[in-house]
Symmetry: C2
Subunit: 459 residues, 2 copies
Amino acid sequence: MMEKKLLVAASIILNLIFTIHILYNKDSTTWNPTWTNRAALEAEDAASVSCSGHGRAYVDGLGALDGNKPPCECNNCYTGTDCSILVADCLVDANSGDPLFLEPFWMQKSEGSAVVESGWHMMSYSYYAYGSFVSQELEKVIRKLHNVVGNAVTDNRFVIFGNGATQLIAASVHALSRTNSSSSSSPARLLASVPFYNMYKNQADFFYSANVKFGGDASALKESEDNDNVTQVIEVVTSPNNPDGKMRRAVLDGSNVKTIHDNAYYWPYFSPTTHPVDEDLSLFSLSKTTGHAGSRFGWALVKDKAVYERMKTYINLSSLGVSRDSQLRALQLLKVVLGDGGEEIFNFGYKTLKKRWDTLNKIFSMSNRFSLQTIKPEYCNYFKKVRDFTPSYAWVKCERVEDTNCYEIFRAAKITGRDGNVFGSEERFVRLSLIRSQDDFDQLIDMLKKLVPRGADSI
Amino acid sequence: MMEKKLLVAASIILNLIFTIHILYNKDSTTWNPTWTNRAALEAEDAASVSCSGHGRAYVDGLGALDGNKPPCECNNCYTGTDCSILVADCLVDANSGDPLFLEPFWMQKSEGSAVVESGWHMMSYSYYAYGSFVSQELEKVIRKLHNVVGNAVTDNRFVIFGNGATQLIAASVHALSRTNSSSSSSPARLLASVPFYNMYKNQADFFYSANVKFGGDASALKESEDNDNVTQVIEVVTSPNNPDGKMRRAVLDGSNVKTIHDNAYYWPYFSPTTHPVDEDLSLFSLSKTTGHAGSRFGWALVKDKAVYERMKTYINLSSLGVSRDSQLRALQLLKVVLGDGGEEIFNFGYKTLKKRWDTLNKIFSMSNRFSLQTIKPEYCNYFKKVRDFTPSYAWVKCERVEDTNCYEIFRAAKITGRDGNVFGSEERFVRLSLIRSQDDFDQLIDMLKKLVPRGADSI
């Protein structure tokens, strides 16, 4: 009798427990996705593929069409289905400026940085509400970012978007080379001081505009006094510079001189923010701001309305603006950056590069066979302290008399850098990329440890 | 006693039901998203904003940065927070070729067409696994699409991507104008038969390459026999043509002549698939394939390796390829299209345009003041039947002697078309876009019903 009563009581209590449990779940405000589910599942599936910390899988990776789980895309020198196998005797990639040093940051920010695009997102040619190719929200966020970081003045500036700073370089050169076409029949001369990013030369040579020709070293022109003050001159000033990371100013001046400031690297990762850039034409790139080189998004801050209109026409005729997909993505990424005023990402990036430079400096101090660029620390308005420069690239000089081709010496030591002559400089220099993945950097250091101390006494 | 036994039985049965319910939910394979949840919620929120069927809200719409629900972006002539207010006496937009006629299709395909991009998706400059700027999976899907639709031969063709067919036009012109630079010192002449899409002329004029000049009407050159057979000539053949939708062939030939085939409109929406295009250089655009003009994605099928390499260099130097975000999106959209061999989308698009042309023809038959282009129906290999052409645009001619400026006549009737002289043709013609949203078309019809029958007897 007692047991029966206990069982009945237990049953009733169980009823109550179940009822509360079910009511709780009904009352819970957990939202469940509907039409985004398939795509979300695919993305989370790809993200969950284990690549041993030496790679990652993408939703559109090879085999994605066949419904297979996407494969790992391994960092250089790693292989195997899960990137766990280190290839012996592998060639280190220190060539391109792929900004993968920021990938770990974005992997931590998975929730904030994800983007979901509906199938009908932005099908129009223009942002309908205001008939343009430019997202107003993205422009707002870019202005805000510059103000927060303090690396550029945006007041009284037009903002123009491009498919990477790459397209904006071409647009700027074109816009500036035609502005005073009536005053000179010779093509404008495009110059930059050695060592310079060779894209400026390559574009000018290849596009073969009737209005502009690449004219070589700006500093050489200055010294030669060959500037006739009539032929239009366009100087590209890259600051911080690629390849050597140094801050630069224009070397040419005069009423016939126009200047393009390529400030793509002017972020706290690479250099102190000494002052906000306040020029007529400044270029920036998402590649070096958030690390998203693949999105092909850059912007220019332009003072002069006529120049702005010409650049806009150039971008419009070249490609009818920039992909709305890239603009949506850039907006989300920059929202994450701005969420804490850039503190987390800039600290992450700067600390990563500081550590890499400390390691590099230590190795290079073991020998006088090779030297690195040295730049005096300066006060950084963003970090509010004096800090080292931590450039994207090591600009290495082979000091030994007989080491005439630095690229080949490093290549023989299984390190692929970029030849100094690509930057208009001597073959005694080689550029080594320091902004790639941690794997790339670790491999670089392993090889440098073998190369640098060799023949340490001879110069 | 009986009641007590019944209650106990009920309690036990209830417990069994609850147990089964909970076990079922645990066993259920319902997947719950984690890090994609925020972005998915935002996207579904935006999609759920009611715009009365006369607009839509985008995740990155105005105010998105302030955390507000994105606003409706209304179709032309609609206003109000939910686009429910029709503006009286509104100017109809029949100008641009915004392919919004396909928007309803994509809204139905919400699940299949959504894309989720992680914050670390494709940060690299290149598709790492094979060091290029081109998604192999996307290339595969494009080749498959052409084979299924039967509108182009892809065997022995290189595929090259561009930021819209727009960028590929410039790349093609550049590539073809330099191929035989040694044989002629004059710039190549770029021509197209009137009426032609004015982008060809605008690009050539604006970019002002030393190697190519726009030379006007190809047909006029043919008739004038001014082709010296030495100066390089590049003819752009748009087929179906913009603005009149007619199939076209090259008019010029000779060893000094190169041809670019702009086949952007060669899809079952607009014309019968009479044969697969089998040319040296064919251009296509996502804008006219799926309707996603905002994604800025196009591709070229190229036979000659040297031409392909030059075009690739052009795209690389212009913009380091095409956004990986756009490529991911294009892949997903084309996967949906290919899911049923294109049947649903091409039928949807064709039927929409057929209905629009039937309505248009009916109105224009009420008067001989204006005429439309007429094209004989042909057998379509895709739909496997003889079918009408259903061009994107009405190419309207003002037949009355005194109606010399057709654009102005339509403008006065509150319809903004595109002036015939923009296409190198006479002002007696005006182009009216028929591929915009249903609202745009309905408004166009309302205005045409007032305009067309007026003065029906006079010519």
